[in-house]
């Protein structure tokens, strides 16, 4: 394959914090396709573990706001201000907002946009709808008696 663009000397690293795997997975992949190194964290505790790991360089933290656990996105942003001042933090409270943030990051990435952000959003909606439908259908099944 042929090089499309020259990559920068060091890939910028995004720490992406999102508890919903079906949102985290496609957005992380999208950002990688835009040329970023993406570290995935499933909650604020994982994000803080990564940020305290001295050998791991993070340039931008991109986090969901509502997350289970003791610390939500606002709490994480506050922790970062106290412990890693100067680090850029992007917060998103909804999936459309998260996709919009990803799109804006992608526009500054080192590679051309891999696909339209709307395609990404539609894909996430389909993933979540399919998962919810599967859960509803499981819930409607009569519970099996243990032998």
């Amino acid at each position: 394959l042929v090089r499309v663009t020259d990559k920068p000397n060091r890939q910028e690293t995004i720490l992406f914090v999102e508890d919903e795997v079906l949102v985290r997975m496609p957005i992380a992949q999208y950002l990688r396709d835009c040329g970023y190194r993406v570290i995935e964290a499933a909650n604020a505790d994982e994000a803080m573990t990564v940020l305290m790991h001295k050998e791991t360089v993070v340039d931008i933290v991109f986090s969901d706001i509502e997350m289970p656990g003791a610390v939500d996105g606002f709490g994480l942003a506050k922790w970062i201000r106290e412990h890693r001042a100067g680090l850029d933090v992007l917060l998103a409270g909804t999936v459309p907002r998260a996709v919009e943030n990803a799109k804006q990051l992608c526009e500054q990435g080192s590679l051309p946009k891999p696909y339209d952000a709307q395609v990404l959003h539609d894909h996430i909606k389909r993933l979540l709808a399919a998962r919810n439908a599967a859960k509803e259908s499981e819930a409607r099944l009569p519970k099996r008696e243990l032998p």
Partner: protein, 178 residues
């Protein structure tokens, strides 16, 4: 839907697009609507034109296999995921067994690498059993800091005692994929 382009020999590949990336031009829109999300390839929105995305997979081109990595320790997951990506694989990450099962409902995965001891509803052994029942074609590699009597149990294709050498694990995955 998550397919490797190699699974679809009926697609035509032109050598290069104007940007230098290979392009597939004859993908029927209805059938491949979701292809935009296949890592390393691009569907130009709404037109089902699949485009390999530049040089992100040198030497691995059009046949990158997808690996699902299930690990609750973020630094271990991060480090192994990066090693696997450097080896040319598409890596999906799950922090527990329930997340892994959610991913497997929508993504085509060739290999699952899972830690055994994890918090949550299922541990790695129970996850492997569930995967074997639903997706017998998926190869499963387990890892744990504690030894594990793997010889009595068939629902896996390899076991690694932590801490292990990531290069050995990647070699094992490569062999599993043939």
């Amino acid at each position: 839907l998550n397919l490797d382009l190699t699974d679809l020999p009926q697609l035509d590949f032109q050598e290069r697009s104007s940007s230098g990336a290979p392009v597939v031009t004859n993908a029927p829109e209805e059938q491949y609507r979701d292809w935009s999300i296949v890592s390393g390839y691009t569907a130009i929105s709404g037109r089902a034109v699949l485009q390999a995305s530049g040089d992100r997979s040198p030497g691995h081109g059009l046949s990158r296999a997808t690996i699902l990595l299930v690990e609750d320790e973020v630094l271990v997951r991060m480090s192994l995921a990066e090693e696997l990506r450097s080896a040319g694989y598409v890596v999906l990450e799950a922090s527990n067994a329930d997340e892994a099962l959610d991913v497997l409902r929508s993504q085509r995965v060739r290999v699952v690498i899972s830690d055994i001891r994890m918090p949550g509803r299922l541990d790695g052994v129970e996850l492997a059993r569930a995967i074997r029942a639903q997706h017998p074609e998926i190869k499963i590699v387990l890892a744990s800091a504690e030894s594990f009597s793997a010889s009595h149990w068939a629902d896996h294709d390899g076991f690694f005692l932590k801490p292990y050498d990531a290069r050995r694990l990647i070699e094992h995955v490569k062999n599993l994929l043939g």
